[in-house]
């Protein structure tokens, strides 16, 4: 099955689910818009922010752009919105080249990290803004504007707060006003820049589940930027992992966690134990001695072993691939962890999950063998 077919299936599944839970309250005009980013290059002065990025997003998808700061994810989002002009490359909305279109013509809903609510307007006027600035002949009647705004207030669960000013709302409420304002113009795509970045942990968690549910209801093609992998993995249909202006991987949350194609993705998504190795003549060496690990197609030279903390098993030192001395035991219950200094390279300390009930003490020598692992060439 191709990736795209997989996405379509996911989408259909979500659609079916959505209608079963609640009838879609916001009827979308036609099908949700496909979005194509085609070899986009963007530089600020001499600093390159995007090196020829290409990306296809199916209609109705919820896609996360995930990466560390400076990876170009926000720049990519702003290029899609038309807030930045790319130096080369195209952005297509459906089959239409949007590159020459202004921000206004693109009809995108953009939610800013700091919300950018209009402080001098009430919640109602904020949400109605996009409807009021339309050219006279396209403008809705006042009654229709009121109806749409109240409908959106209900959708974002802020009914009754229409008369408040943004300064009188909590961060989470402001975030939802910003979202309602962006949705009011019935955008062809919804773009969110670090939508939960300014909120505290508890509100973040609630709000992102709520956003996922909302997306299933309104089903508009959505792209959001985040540096928080948990957030991306929890709510996105697909995750685009970015690093230094390039896309490292595009895949489902499961793909990026289970099948990272590069050391960067393995290290960035989830926790990783990293052990330095060398590959010589198709065999893997650790601390100068061969170890029974598959080189996974990596050529001769220095390499690194990547293992998830829960994929490292503690075994008797005599049968283990690695041995080490326990330096620290911390955590409680299911979260107990040990820090081990490897015998061959004592400067490498690794932290692994400890199965419940195992009794270990600081100073003990333990044997370690990974039951799942990835090997990547070490950076030059």
């Amino acid at each position: 099955m191709t990736a795209l077919a997989q996405i379509r299936e996911d989408r259909d599944h979500i659609r079916a689910g959505a209608t079963a839970v609640a009838p879609a309250p916001e009827p979308r005009p036609g099908n949700p818009m496909n979005l194509t980013v085609d070899h986009v290059v963007k530089a600020f002065g001499k600093t390159a922010a995007l090196h020829g990025v290409s990306l296809e997003i199916a209609g109705g998808e919820l896609v996360a752009l995930l990466g560390p700061s400076g990876s170009g994810k926000t720049t990519l989002l702003r290029v899609i919105a038309g807030l930045e002009m790319p130096n080369s490359g195209r952005v297509l909305f459906g089959d239409e080249d949007a590159s020459a279109k202004t921000v206004q013509e693109r009809n995108v809903g953009f939610v800013f990290q700091s919300y950018a609510l209009f402080r001098h307007m009430t919640v109602f006027e904020n949400i109605a803004f996009g409807l009021r600035v339309r050219p006279q002949r396209e403008r809705l009647k006042e009654s229709a504007i009121r109806e749409r705004v109240f409908h959106l207030l209900e959708l974002v669960q802020l009914s009754g707060l229409e008369g408040r000013y943004p300064g009188q709302l909590s961060g989470g409420q402001q975030q939802r006003v910003a979202l309602a304002r962006a949705l009011a113009i019935e955008p062809s795509v919804l773009l969110l820049d670090e939508p939960f970045g300014a909120l505290d942990a508890k509100v973040r968690k609630d709000l992102r589940r709520w956003l996922r549910k909302l997306h299933e209801e309104i089903h508009v093609t959505s792209v959001f930027v985040t540096h928080d992998q948990e957030e991306a993995l929890e709510i996105a249909d697909r995750v685009v992992v970015m690093n230094q202006g390039r896309i490292e991987q595009i895949g489902t949350p499961e793909d990026v966690y289970e099948r990272p194609p590069s050391a960067f993705v393995h290290g960035f998504i989830g926790e990783s134990i990293v052990i330095p190795l060398a590959v010589r003549d198709g065999a893997v060496f650790f601390g100068g001695r061969p170890v029974a690990l598959e080189p996974q197609g990596i050529g001769d030279g220095p390499a690194r072993l990547f293992v998830r903390p829960d994929e490292m098993a503690i075994v008797a030192p005599s049968r283990a691939l690695f041995t080490g001395q326990i330096r620290q035991v911390h955590g409680l219950g299911p979260d107990r962890r040990i820090v081990v200094a490897l015998s061959a390279v004592p400067e490498t300390e690794i932290e692994i999950a400890l199965p419940r009930g195992s009794v270990v003490g600081v100073g003990e020598i333990v044997g370690l063998t990974p039951h799942r692992y990835r090997i990547f060439a070490a950076p030059a």
């Binding site: 919105a81 950018a116 209009f118 001098h120």
Partner: protein
Amino acid sequence: MPDRVHDASSPGWRSPTAEAPLVKALLIGTALLFLGVFLLAPLITVFVAALSKGAAVFVASLGDADTLAAIRLTLLVAAIAVPANLVFGVAAAWAIAKYEFRGKTLLTTLIDLPFSVSPVVAGLIYVILFGAHGYLGPWLNAHNIQIIFAVPGIVLATIFVTFPFVARELIPLMQKQGSQDEEAAISLGASGWQTFLRVTLPNIKWGLMYGVLLCNARAMGEFGAVSVVSGHIRGQTNTMPLQIEILYNDYQWVAAFAAASLLALLALVTLVVKSVLEWRFGDELASVHR
């Protein structure tokens, strides 16, 4: 005893960061004394001197034809210079706060030039440029355009001197606000003009109002630069500050102080308007500045 710990008003209680009562009294006393001697006393003197020969003389001296002409000219100059600097100031602040471009630092420095240069120099610049013996003088003369020793010169000098007020009030404000609100507005489909009117202007209206008030006070009170370009033609090119000087030099004390009291009154009105605005729209002000 917990009440004593929390009761700030109980005798003998003092916040650990507060000064000793004596220091506090000394600081407040010094500030009040300074204000009284250097600001309040002169202001009172102006009004006392203006009314020293009675209200009838006061009114009569303001009714003098030359003084009336000076008042009219002052109002005219302010009516041209203030709107001009409103437009220039908003444009300059917008350019500096929202765009990155070559020469931005230079522009920021140039905006402050009228504050750092002596008003007399500002006046002389225009005399050298537009005067009869200046660079453009002969050409202007040939086309029968009079700038120096006429109203246009006074307006130009006033605009020069009062240029920084609006721009300087707005630049830090607009820089702090950034351009996210504007980006949000255009992403919602607003045109550039709609964005300015509906989003930018409301965001800066208080700063703009202060800038305009200060600009207006200075435009009406400017002496140095205007004095150089005016030519002191009674009833024609004398603004109020110039007229006051002439009356004073003619030993017409009451008339001079009567006119001066009008200018001082303007300053007081400016302050009152500012305070009333702050009091009336205090909540909104606070929410915008938050």
